[in-house]
Point group: C2
């Protein structure tokens, strides 16, 4: 079975996000007001061929924990869809 | 009204994504098989204070087109939720 995983890897809420702060400052220069709390992370899409949804979830979680995310400063969330 | 925008900024499908290719290669070293088509982009969360949903959408689209995304090599998609 084929699955598509949509993974969001974001900095922990407790941590400062200097990239997000830079975006807020620069939105002001574009005369866009009302924007706050900008946080910037990574978005990963992958296609997984697995025997079951549970196996696909296991693959995504191992990939995130061991390779894609730095679990000390980041958290990840994902959605798995049938392809 | 307060809205939360969840924005995904991804490289165009037509373009090579060397970062994604590197991830596929390295997943093999972790003995994770069955993963293909990895593409890596950015995920941006922002809070928007606007008079209406239409105004909030306008703010997100302007921010993406003028600051967050490079429209030559990237596309963006977003979901707007009431906060």
């Amino acid at each position: 079975m084929k699955f598509i995983a949509e993974i969001d890897i974001m900095p922990h809420k407790e941590l400062l996000d200097p990239q997000g702060k830079a975006v807020i400052n620069n939105l002001g220069h574009l005369h866009l007001s009302g924007v706050a709390d900008v946080r910037i992370g990574r978005h990963v899409q992958m296609t997984i061929e697995a025997d079951s949804e549970a196996a696909a979830r296991q693959t995504v979680e191992t990939a995130c924990q061991k390779l894609l995310a730095n679990m000390i400063v980041e958290t990840f969330h994902y959605v798995l869809k049938g392809a």
